[in-house]
Subunit: 124 residues, 3 copies
């Protein structure tokens, strides 16, 4: 049973020049694990844009257009390299209240755009 | 149980210059509720493009590539601002015949493109 | 029950100039049924880009980021013109091992981009 879905597209150039021009934005929106790769190198701007799109898509799927606390929706990678969503705090509470048990996520970027798409599902 | 899915991307500039250059197209494709916001102001071209994409995505999910009567697939907003789909007429009949009980929809636009993505689901 | 989802966006121009500049790539990635329409005419570059995106999206949904044997994920059209996925060989084995019984797919292109979105589902 699907509880909600979300899609978000981000203009990577605009994301870089408008949003990411200050460190304050990056720190407010992304966790350290999102900003840096395992070895400590900064993540590419395209990957960051895709993660930003993921957070927006989760907000849409949750039905909270006013937004979430950004750090409460974290995008990571599992051992196989697949993106994974981890919710915490109020975002996790909202998801539990809606009966969401599973999140599905996929990310892509090319042609200057990053796209995230998510499904919030209740499995028996 | 998922009955069908649909995605559609629309070039917003081309949509404006080609499709929306005549009032006849807008009136044929969109209902009054879609063309105007609650206060009566016309909806932005990006929002209209997303609604157009939504109708195309629904046609794909329903499996009617020949198209639907455009007004029979209406995109509205619920009280929380989330997009909602309402089907009527033959579109609603086709959906019922396929066993569809729930529609999920998400819209986005940036970088000159509008994207709609929908899932038609049968819930027990 | 959703097993996995995948989205992929492809820059059509770049796909044409970089990927499709050699016949070897096209033959390695696409089956004859994908490269040619029923009458024998070559498929449009936008349609090929969408099919390429579909294969990438399936790889994401299956959780095999290292990729699949390209010919084992084939995109066709049913009698109504809707896109359909057919898996064979190891791709089909992986899907069966994950309990996937149904694939849902939708394709779109405009504004120089092709997008594929897929859902791998287990139906009772």
């Amino acid at each position: 049973m699907i509880i909600g879905i979300g899609v978000d597209v981000v203009d990577i150039d605009r994301f870089q020049t408008v949003s990411m021009r200050t460190a304050a934005f990056a720190e407010r929106v992304f966790t350290d694990h999102e900003r840096f790769q395992r070895g400590g190198a900064p993540r590419s701007i395209a990957s960051m844009a895709a993660r930003f799109a993921a957070k927006e898509a989760v907000a849409k799927a949750l039905g909270v257009p006013a937004g979430l606390s950004w750090h409460e929706v974290e995008v990571s990678r599992d051992d196989g390299g697949r993106p994974r969503l981890a919710l915490s705090g109020q975002a996790a509470d909202t998801a539990a209240a809606r009966g969401i048990t599973d999140w599905h996520i996929s990310l892509t970027h090319d042609a200057g755009v990053a796209i995230a798409y998510v499904i919030a599902e209740r499995q028996p």
